[in-house]
């Protein structure tokens, strides 16, 4: 049995053309882009080309793109850089973010609290959506930074970034969005969105792990996160990860060409999965039904626990993820699901399927055939499920 990988939200397989471009770079253009000689100049050229490709996929100019070691570093660079920079200019020390951000954003904001910043965390509705009115209420004269993600990594809900950014910027705050999950999957245009800072990561778009970028709009000043050489316009020191960056560039080019058709294809699969699995009893869809990433399915199966579900799926060759505490390394289940109002118990039973390039109609069929029996098996094991069998059959007979 060919395994079915449906965890593209965690990471994606590297596209064969990306691997090829990286190998070519390592074999033929291993120079340091800072070097004067031919090896260095060749490396510099590849660096410039990759920057242009990544910039183009988000409607930016190449000089607005700073390469980083991934989405996490881009988020930290944006948040620490903008907050500290604005405070140095005497603009204030209030930050606004949302309850459903990735830990790279939330924990960076929390670390800033220790530096004396005040952080307001906006609530979300039961679909995981931030409301513009909530931001309006939270904005203050001393708000220096608003950071709200473009699309959520767990439930796929897409935020109204355009309106949020307009509002924040009208009040003089810098606006950052974490677009790690949306970049390359749905249209992301920095000018249309009107953001000052935007983070992206290569390994979510069939590029290599360990590369990301931060878009920095003209005029936005950031204090650096680290110090050293004069690479990346002195904003991000260290010898550039050239093969990785070339791979990111290639992945961006491929995404640009294929994005629209792929989004339509995956939306079809997504909807089949959601509709199919929702026919089971005691299942809840997490995230907005339509205003969500094409590749994201997130459901809670009552009475069972996520890690067990993942292990059972794994035994059937299906790779997925869960918001269960047992898989997060922390004691609590997904902060995203809790912020959406789910009980601990139901959050523990969540399953995320994230579709991608390698998935086929057959994979969807296989999942739709496999999950019901697994859910039934685990429910049979569950002390919470007693007396629900009756309800189940009722629902099924309807």
């Amino acid at each position: 049995m060919q395994p079915v990988y449906m965890d593209h939200g965690a990471t994606t397989p590297v596209h064969p053309e990306v691997v090829k471009a990286m190998v070519e770079t390592m074999e033929k253009s291993f120079g340091n882009p800072s070097s004067v000689h031919a090896f260095g100049r060749e490396a510099r050229k590849l660096l410039d080309e990759a920057r242009a490709s990544v910039a183009s996929l988000m409607g930016a100019s190449p000089e607005q793109i700073i390469f980083t070691s991934g989405g996490t570093e881009a988020d930290n660079m944006a948040i620490f850089g903008a907050a500290r920079g604005m405070r140095l200019k005497g603009k204030g020390n209030h930050i606004i973010t949302s309850a459903v951000e990735h830990h790279a954003v939330l924990d960076a904001c929390k670390a800033l609290e220790k530096e004396g910043f005040e952080v307001t965390i906006l609530p979300v509705d039961e679909d995981g959506q931030v409301h513009v009115e909530e931001l309006e209420k939270a904005l203050r004269d001393d708000t220096v930074l608003v950071t709200i993600m473009h699309a959520n990594n767990e439930v796929g809900t897409i935020q109204p970034i355009q309106e949020l950014a307009r509002l924040a910027k009208a009040r003089g705050a810098v606006f950052h969005t974490d677009a790690v999950q949306s970049f390359g999957k749905i249209p992301v245009d920095v000018n249309e969105l009107g953001v000052d800072l935007l983070s992206a990561s290569a390994h979510k778009i069939y590029g290599p792990k360990g590369v990301g970028c931060l878009y920095i709009a003209k005029g936005v000043k950031l204090t650096p996160l680290s110090y050293g050489g004069s690479q990346e316009r002195r904003r991000r020191p260290g010898t550039e990860n050239l093969p990785g960056i070339v791979g990111f560039g290639k992945a961006a080019l491929i995404s640009q060409a294929e994005m629209q058709a792929e989004a339509e294809r995956l939306t079809r699969y997504r909807d089949r999965l959601i509709d199919g699995l929702m026919e089971l009893p005691h299942v809840k869809l997490n995230g907005h039904r339509t205003n969500r990433l094409p590749q994201n399915v997130n459901l809670s199966f009552h009475f069972i626990e996520g890690e067990s579900l993942l292990l059972m799926l794994d035994m059937k060759g299906i790779a997925a993820s869960s918001g269960s505490a047992c898989t997060s390394g922390s004691l609590d289940p997904s902060h995203v699901l809790l912020a959406m109002g789910l009980s601990h118990e139901i959050a523990h039973g969540s399953l995320r399927l994230t579709l991608g390039r390698g998935n086929s109609e057959e994979d969807v069929d296989y999942i739709l055939n496999t999950i019901p029996e697994i859910v039934e098996r685990l429910r049979a094991l569950s002390p919470l499920y007693e007396g629900k069998e009756a309800v189940t059959s009722c629902t099924q007979r309807r």
Partner: protein, 124 residues
Amino acid sequence: MYTEKVMEHFANPRNVGEIEEASGVGEVGNASCGDIMRISIQVEDNIIKDIKFKTFGCGAAIATSSVCTELVKGKSIDEALELTNQAVADALGGLPPAKMHCSNLAAEALHEAIADYKAKQGKE
């Protein structure tokens, strides 16, 4: 992350279910923590003749429940009370550090079931 033994018990859990008219029942954990175990025992002549479990929890929780029932089935109450968390973990070839608390739960549920049995005995 899990040993083969853990996965084997997880894939084929022994003694799943509920004993209808149990001599004793123990339940520990709660759903908001992500782990609930219920163990029911049938005791005859101070021997655990039958034991069954139901568990809501991760792979380690299910495997420890399963191996725990296997370890004490046919044993005397006194022998069963000597079952330690470490023995449960050892019987599975070890558990990842983050999952060690699951072995506590299984032994605890068993001890609760025995306590329940003893309490009922006292009443009779």
